[in-house]
């Protein structure tokens, strides 16, 4: 184990953090429980939420604390109450600790004091529990709908246990159900971007309020692609099946999700993973990072019209995809991670394949980086654009290269070592500038680090089993699993249930924490850079938007003639 890994998993360090919280809020804490090695659950009353969470998150000495996820659950069948857990982590290589601040909320009084005024990073989470569970954050600055579609009826809460996963309430789209976008600031025009836009790889709607070409303010509406994965995971799938659905949450970072889920269940059920499997998981996670970062860097080039860089990055990426295909049987959905280990072993010939590909990749990528960074027009477009200050990154609990480009020194691989990262040596690149260029540079350096991690992992990989046997997972155990996806920390929360099924599964993709910071990065920039800034966050919409069952059939269907359609769109375009 490496020196830093030993330090942050040091029991004394952890105890210091936990003791301080217990000491300080002795009279407010109802119960403290250690869920897993690095996870403490602290139960408090709901009135104390802002104070306790504010204390931990804004602690002046604890490094890079942040709201990792927040889970609302309908525990009425168990305890007759709803529950909320704010999971807060401490990062910056200073102790591997997750605090789960839990509180119960009764059905008669489904209100709780909002944490958002103290920590804006809780904004989306609290709107989400409002939409899906009907728990109302009091004092929330922006209580608009977040997750559910505009025409979803009031008072129907899909994540409550009395809502069956095949239910589909009657919906009608009227003027009243229209989403209340913010009024444009005085003297600005609205520049709509998306949901369908050539340079957005997935649907998301942005309203840029512009003066000339300068962006004054931004409003957005997302969650166009909920697939009800959490609900399906809780109702229809068994533990093992969830893994494969989890992998398909995202089109790019599937393994990170499958791994986070598997680790959550392993933590909850006390399943020991063989060491060889840990190494294989690490290699797969890094291969995924390689192709994801190459994709993002390529797209950054494409968004500024530098197609040579785009094509070259994608060609390099193609070799990584081919490698993944040989290793796992598919280019993208690897299907490697299962609870207890991995499914396919790295045979000798595969190992030499990896070595060959990453050797060539290192060479090719260095060439690519030299070429791109010496393209003056490219650097000119990226420098000083889309600046996200450290303060804003911290305020929104941002993660991944998006946050590391703004000087936040956090990386789940190092701060909460999972899989084989605790045995390996690597650097976490951090830049302070906070602009698009800084984020590109973070990604570029991470690619080289990933190659180095894969090389070490192949060298040090021990022999032995790749899959641990597990029989039964005890019910109603809670734990979080976390991975560093290419876009930042992914956190999966599970509460195990009976009958080989989950009771609650909460997925938090990295983009969920990054997205709310986007308006801060976009303000004051030019419309020309809007797409580039969005791309530099490396957004993954389908990861972020996973929660609710959406039925596309809403309202009446009428077939329009071509003429009517044209007329309609003309009207619509006047309305903007």
């Amino acid at each position: 184990m490496k020196e830093w890994a030993r330090k942050i998993t040091d029991e004394k360090v952890r105890e210091r953090y936990v003791n301080e919280v217990i000491e300080r809020f002795r009279d407010k804490i109802i119960r403290v429980e250690r869920n897993a090695d690095n996870q403490w659950m602290i139960e408090i009353r709901k009135e104390d939420l802002p104070e306790v969470i504010g204390y931990i998150i804004n602690h002046p000495e604890w490094k890079e604390t942040q709201l990792s996820t927040m889970v609302g659950a309908d525990e009425r069948p168990l305890r007759g109450k709803f529950s909320l857990i704010y999971w807060i982590s401490i990062n910056g290589a200073s102790g591997d600790v997750f605090f789960g601040i839990k509180t119960y909320i009764s059905e008669d009084d489904p209100k709780f004091p909002s944490v958002t005024p103290i920590h804006p990073g809780a904004n989306w989470y609290e709107r989400e529990v409002k939409d899906l569970l009907g728990l109302i954050p009091e004092g929330h600055p922006d209580p608009r709908r977040l997750v559910l579609p505009d025409d979803w009826p009031e008072g129907v809460y899909p994540l409550r246990k009395d809502f069956h996963y095949t239910d589909s309430p009657k919906r009608e789209f009227t003027d009243e159900t229209k989403y209340p976008y913010r009024e444009p600031p005085k003297g600005t025009a609205v520049f709509p971007l998306g949901p369908y836009h050539v340079a957005l790889d997935e649907p998301g709607h942005f309203r840029l309020y512009v003066k000339g070409e300068e962006i004054v303010d931004v409003d957005y509406r997302l969650f166009y692609q909920h697939r009800g994965i959490e609900k399906i995971g809780e109702n229809r799938l068994t533990y093992d099946q969830v893994n494969f659905i989890a992998e398909r949450i995202c089109g790019i970072c599937g393994t990170a999700h499958a791994l986070a889920y598997a680790q959550a269940v392993e933590a909850a059920g006390g399943v020991e993973v063989p060491e060889r499997a840990e190494y294989i998981r690490t290699v797969m996670a890094e291969i995924e990072r390689l192709h994801s970062h190459l994709l993002n860097l390529g797209l950054a080039c494409h968004d500024v019209g530098f197609d040579k860089g785009f094509m070259d990055a994608f060609r390099l990426r193609e070799h990584v995809m081919w490698l993944a295909e040989r290793l796992t049987g598919n280019r993208k959905t690897y299907g490697m991670v299962v609870i207890g280990g991995v499914r396919r072993d790295f045979l000798e010939y595969r190992r030499s394949m990896i070595e060959k590909v990453i050797r060539e990749l290192r060479e090719g990528f260095q060439k690519w980086a030299d070429q791109t960074l010496s393209t003056k027009t490219f650097v000119k477009r990226c420098e000083g654009v889309g600046v996200l200050s450290y303060k804003d990154a911290k305020r929104w609990s941002s993660v991944g290269p998006w946050a590391r480009g703004s000087g936040r020194d956090l990386d789940a691989r190092r701060d909460h070592p999972f899989a084989a990262y605790k045995y390996l040596d690597f650097k976490v690149p951090v830049y302070k500038e906070g602009d698009v260029l800084a984020r590109c540079l973070v990604r570029a350096e991470e690619i080289l680090e990933s190659i180095w991690i894969i090389e070490q992992a192949l060298d040090e990989m021990p022999g032995g089993d790749i899959l641990a046997e597990w029989k039964e997972i005890p019910p109603y155990q809670e734990a979080v699993g976390f991975t560093e996806a290419p876009r930042g920390e992914d956190v999966h929360y599970v509460m195990t249930g009976e009958g080989n099924r989950l009771y609650r599964w909460r997925i938090r993709a990295s983009t969920y924490n990054n997205f709310p910071a986007l308006p801060d990065a976009m303000r004051g920039n030019s419309v020309a850079d809007a797409v580039l800034i969005i791309a530099s966050m490396d957004p993954c919409y389908s990861c972020t938007e996973r929660v609710q069952v959406v039925d596309a059939r809403s309202g009446k269907v009428r077939v329009l003639t071509e003429k009517e359609l044209t007329e309609l769109s003309r009207k619509a375009s006047r309305g903007v």
């Binding site: 229809r236 799938l237 093992d240 099946q241 969830v242 893994n243 494969f244 659905i245 992998e247 398909r248 060609r315 193609e318 081919w322 295909e325 040989r326 290793l327 796992t328 049987g329 598919n330 959905t333 299907g335 499914r343």
Partner: protein, 165 residues
């Protein structure tokens, strides 16, 4: 050096490790339904008809997510991932494979059991010799649940009567 290929005008072969479209070999399928239980995406369905005495195993490739769990679960190797990846079609029915098997009929009462003839045959085949009373199991295995329960009760009653006498 250009790397783009003139696909689909040239043929492309997937690598040997590739997990492509699954395919059921109807000769090997015994209709046990292990694949149905394993499938996360509900691409595999088991449809029993106790009137006609048939079981259908339906594979809808359109729903399949190529996780290959069915491949792992199959006891006879009937369902296998192929290396085929070209599934575009104008008719959704082209995605569906159906294997229809006969359900076993209870020789005692004549109703259909919830397992197929082939599954029974396979189960008897792999029955380890010497470990159990083979004849006794063979006698019971061919019965439906109800008749088996009845036989067991009858046997027990018989045995106790013997003990009493």
């Amino acid at each position: 050096m250009a790397v783009t290929l003139k696909y689909p005008f040239v043929k492309i072969e997937a690598p040997p490790e590739y997990r492509g479209v699954p395919h059921i070999n109807p000769r090997l399928c015994i209709g046990c339904g292990a694949c149905v239980n394993a499938c996360p995406a509900d691409a595999l369905l088991r449809i029993d008809d106790y009137e006609k005495g048939t079981r259908k195993i339906v594979l809808d490739v359109g729903r399949c997510i190529r996780c290959a769990r069915c491949d792992e679960a199959c006891p006879t190797g009937a369902i296998r991932m192929t290396r085929n990846f070209e599934v575009a079609t104008l008719d959704r029915k082209d995605h569906v494979e159906v294997v229809e098997l006969r359900l076993h009929r209870c020789p005692n009462c004549g109703s259909y059991t919830d397992y197929t003839e082939r599954a029974l045959e396979k189960a008897l085949q792999i029955l380890p010799e010497g470990l159990f009373d083979g004849d006794e199991i063979r006698k019971r295995a061919i019965l439906c649940r109800n008749c088996r329960r009845k036989l067991t009760v009858d046997d027990a009653v018989e045995a106790s009567r013997e003990v009493v006498e």
